[in-house]
Structures are given as structure tokens and as C-alpha cells.
């Protein structure tokens, strides 16, 4: 990781608000400007990564498509709260991308490891 690195935290479910899309846009912009960026999904944000989304019926774009492009932008540090997954009965295999699950004890050091933390 370079000297400067940005962690984007998102805690919102997709589609009900634009937060999921807005967090992705920040991460993609970091990548375009060649800044290392990580994404942390907590609480309902783990739903952002669920497979099989089909939002045509609600007039929105499919987030899964954007998410699948993340590796092309070298955005591969995706962290997911272990408790958030467990409480929702989800497993990493339900998600569209490979992620690192982190537990409570690892959360503080993840924040410490990044220069800037942005909540969206």
C-alpha cells in the first residue's frame, strides 16, 4: 500500500438509497487518479454485493455490473463485516466478488491502516 490510501466505508443497502452507487463512484474515482482504495461493507451494505440483482423493474441500473468491473480498476481490497454477513444469514459465496471478511477485532486496525477514511 502506498503512503496515501483511502478507505471508503458504506453501511447502506443498495437501491433504497443511492449510497451504494455513490460509494462505488468514489472508489472508482480514486482508482482513476491512481490512488489505492479499499472498500468496507458494514451492516446492510453487505446486501450491495448479493448476486442476482435485477433492478430493471424499479428503473435503476444493475450494481452487480459495476461491481464486476472493480477488478479492472485494481480495486480488489473489499472488506465485509463478518457479523453483518452472519446476522443476515449470508456467506461469502453469496456475494458477487471475492471479499475478505473481518471481525470486530480487525476493524480498528483496518481504519488505522488507511490515511483517510471516507463514509458514504
Amino acid at each position: 500500500m502506498s503512503a496515501a490510501s483511502i478507505l471508503v466505508i458504506t453501511r447502506s443497502a443498495p437501491y433504497g438509497s443511492s449510497a451504494a452507487r455513490d460509494a462505488l463512484d468514489v472508489a472508482l474515482t480514486c482508482s482513476v487518479f491512481e490512488q489505492p482504495v479499499s472498500l468496507l461493507f458494514l451492516d446492510d451494505a453487505v446486501f450491495q454485493l448479493l448476486k442476482g440483482q435485477s433492478p430493471g423493474g424499479i428503473g435503476q441500473k444493475n450494481l452487480n455490473a459495476v461491481q464486476q468491473s472493480l477488478p479492472l480498476y485494481d480495486i480488489d481490497r473489499l472488506y465485509v463485516g463478518a457479523r453483518a454477513l452472519a446476522e443476515r444469514g449470508l456467506h461469502a459465496s453469496d456475494l458477487i466478488l471475492p471479499v475478505q471478511t473481518i471481525d470486530e477485532a480487525e476493524l480498528a486496525s483496518l481504519l488505522a491502516d488507511h490515511t483517510t477514511v471516507l463514509s458514504v
Binding site: 453501511r11 447502506s12 443497502a13 443498495p14 437501491y15 433504497g16 438509497s17 451492516d43 446492510d44 446486501f47 448479493l50 448476486k51 442476482g52 440483482q53 435485477s54 433492478p55 430493471g56 423493474g57 424499479i58 435503476q60 452487480n64 446476522e87 443476515r88 444469514g89 449470508l90
Partner: protein, 93 residues
Amino acid sequence: MILHTLNQPPANAACFERCREAMSSDDTLLLIEDGVYWALPAFAARLESLSGRVKVLAADAAARGVDLPAAHCIDDQAFVALCVSHDKVVSWF
């Protein structure tokens, strides 16, 4: 006979709890928008603790990749029909 709608996801447990407390046995709860996640198996016990019936707006479940038995899901037309068949609508958000 009240139709309740709820659009808040599981992290907003307080919203769900108030809706639950407000429901009578002849009421119906329609889960919409981020509320559809309450229909996941992980929350089955809470959903079963509700008085009254539960339906899920199909477009919202499909949007989010929430795969549910067809019997639980209704379309927008059926949403309107529920409004008609109940005395009033109470929105929880």
C-alpha cells in the same frame, strides 16, 4: 384492517419493531424497497412473530436479488388492490 408498508432494511430494527407492535391480526404488512430483506430466511422468526399477513413487492425483491417463493410476492397492481381491500394505509419509513 390496515395495510402497513415498510421500506427499511434490517439495520433499522426499531422501524420494524414499531410496525410489528402496531399490527393487528387482520392487518397486512407489505415489504417494499429495502424492507424486502426482512423476508430472508435469517429473519423468519421475526416475520412469523407478526400478527397478520406479509407480502413482498416483487420488483423490489427482484432488484435486490432476494429470491422468494412466488406466493409471497405481489406486483404493483396487487399493491393497489391491497390498498382498496384495507381501510387505510400506514407507512413505516
